[in-house]
Subunit: 363 residues, 2 copies
């Protein structure tokens, strides 16, 4: 087979003969099998052999024909991660965990984002199915309506039928019969614990900030907030839930509106923001009204983003094991998927409260 | 052609006939050409037609055979972004810009990280060349030694020969004859401006924190620092350069060491940290020694990460147009690459100082 447009020929100045794997092996002084293993990237090889082969591949500018490899099913093994946005600390940290565990296991990892666009998400899953990704990891929550459930079921069955697998990371499976691997964190318990911390410090008027109706990430946080209030003997009327959306700008705008509505004299003594970014926004809005954290109002967040420790004051928040979620997803998918990819498997990682300086004990 | 393992059949319960593009067109009530356009994703189609086709694709669980598509060259057009780490605000924001501009132009985007591993970077570039990515964007700086220059030249020529193109985003080209598209920001000028701001506020003893010898991102920042000092009439002896590495932990450790060495009484009155994360770490270390920002020591950073505005106090820093770098890279690559992909093209975006509350004017 002659491939006239391969890079090898162009870089070599138009030589007529295509560089073969045999040429690479000869140059590197190793066997063809070793070259194949190094290039496939999914077998253990010695660092020395790897270096020699990679040097020879570079020297000869050897290009394995991707189309031929795809037909033969001998391309590098890949793992795909699909997120809503790469520009978020949580998604990026999970993706980092997936990437590093994938690297340790000789896989290449691709991260794709859809920006909340359903058609784009579908196109990405299709592409990964076509490219024979070993598995496809969907990260983070979503608004779980019927349409979403149907979409997810189609992804799961479609990938399973293609010999791949759908992995849900940080979100629940809509139904127990969906053939997916689920790696979650204990979202509701994290909220329960941090609200209990506020209650233990004497707070009784606690605002929850940042709703997203039907959203799989936000609903358990509100549920944990409610359960903590109830368990501490507070009536349902004690619940204060406000603001739509997470993130800094939503937290800032919601808190500004709340403070404008009460002339800067809120009835609550503490705020549980749905994520650390919303907490940062809320704290900025409070500063504009001369309200200090925690002297005037205590604030807690969720996620334990890198940001949290450097806020003013450092923020008490709920730690999500984001990096471990990514690593566990890869580890479990690779050890579990081969025997029975058509069943569901669910794993839950723990959350805990990180105590810093943003909560005041009421006397 | 029969493909016995396609998802369509499995989901349909084992029906014998493969779903064809004609079936999708019939179901959607549009032409085969329209289905083809919607699925290729690179031609304008009406939202209504798109919705109908996507619905039909889902209903029938139509799977275009990826191997056949690759052979025919009719797969979706893809853009690849290769970064050192997805877990960094700068890389993630650039990737977000690439992704959103790619989406607006009907391309799918993949982000891959190599964690600083050369062999992995090579494997990723090879994979993208094989998958016929329209172009491959390398984001961020690197230590520019001979080995690196040779590697980059190989990527550039290899991709160009395969009809693709190498795009360097936020890093310079090692040589003017390399067939790459370069989209940079004015790194040195940003450093010059923020150090000039410190000098104008009366500071004469300014520490630069965070070196990385030979690194294309860090060297221009130090050069800008030096030029600003010289232009304000300070002798070379006024230069104070310390600490190795950027990021929060390096900034924290370096500042702790410096303060330990001088018993918490530094001779400098201001710190220019190589990035905002290093500034955050340095400020945390200074707090531990009872030094306040900016009352005792002024601090400025670089990048204008999301973090900078919420530091204590909010940080004066240099804004990098990270999102615009990503968007411009896609825009320029798509408009420029077709006619002459073998020449170099270079574009420079501006930087500016964002003034906040971390600099004190000396009396």
């Amino acid at each position: 087979m002659t491939v006239p447009d391969t890079a090898g020929q162009a870089a070599a100045g138009g030589g007529a003969r295509r560089v073969t794997i045999r040429d690479v092996a000869d140059r590197a002084g190793v066997s063809v099998a070793t070259v194949s293993r190094v290039l496939a990237g999914n077998y253990p090889t010695s660092a020395a052999a790897r270096a020699k082969v990679l040097r020879a591949v570079k020297d000869l500018d050897y290009v394995i024909d991707g189309r031929a490899r795809a037909l033969a099913g001998t391309g590098p093994k890949t793992i795909a991660v699909i997120v809503s946005s790469v520009d978020s600390a949580f998604y990026a940290t999970v993706a980092q965990g997936v990437e590093q565990e994938a690297a340790a296991r000789g896989r290449l990892c691709m991260v794709c984002s859809h920006g909340g666009d359903e058609a784009r998400e579908l196109a990405l899953v299709q592409m990964m199915r076509e490219q024979r990704s070993e598995f496809v990891v969907l990260v983070g929550g979503a608004v779980e309506d019927e349409r979403y459930q149907a979409r997810l079921a189609e992804y799961a069955h479609g990938l399973a039928a293609a010999g791949s697998r759908l992995v849900l990371c940080g979100r629940p499976a809509p139904s127990a019969d969906m053939p997916v691997l689920v790696v979650e964190y204990d979202n509701e318990a994290g909220a329960y614990a941090v609200v209990s911390h506020l209650l233990s410090a004497g707070h009784r008027d606690i605002l929850y900030l940042g709703t997203m109706p039907g959203h799989t990430t936000v609903e358990p946080r509100i549920a944990g907030y409610r359960r903590a209030l109830a368990d501490h003997g507070l009536p349902p009327a004690a619940e204060r839930i406000a603001g739509v959306g997470l993130g800094r700008s939503h937290g800032y705008a919601a808190m500004r509106q709340i403070l404008a509505d009460c002339d800067g004299r809120p009835a609550f003594t503490a705020v549980f923001a749905g994520d650390d970014q919303a907490a940062a926004g809320a704290m900025a809005a409070m500063r504009e009204y001369g309200l200090r954290t925690p002297d005037d109002i205590s604030v807690v967040g969720y996620n334990n983003d890198g940001l949290a420790q450097d806020l003013n004051p450092p923020l008490t928040t709920v730690n999500i094991p984001a990096y471990e979620l990514g690593r566990e997803a890869v580890r479990l998918a690779l050890t579990e998927s081969s025997p029975r990819p058509t069943t569901q498997s669910r794993h839950l990682l723990g959350t805990h409260t990180v105590l810093r300086d943003s909560v005041r004990r009421l006397s």
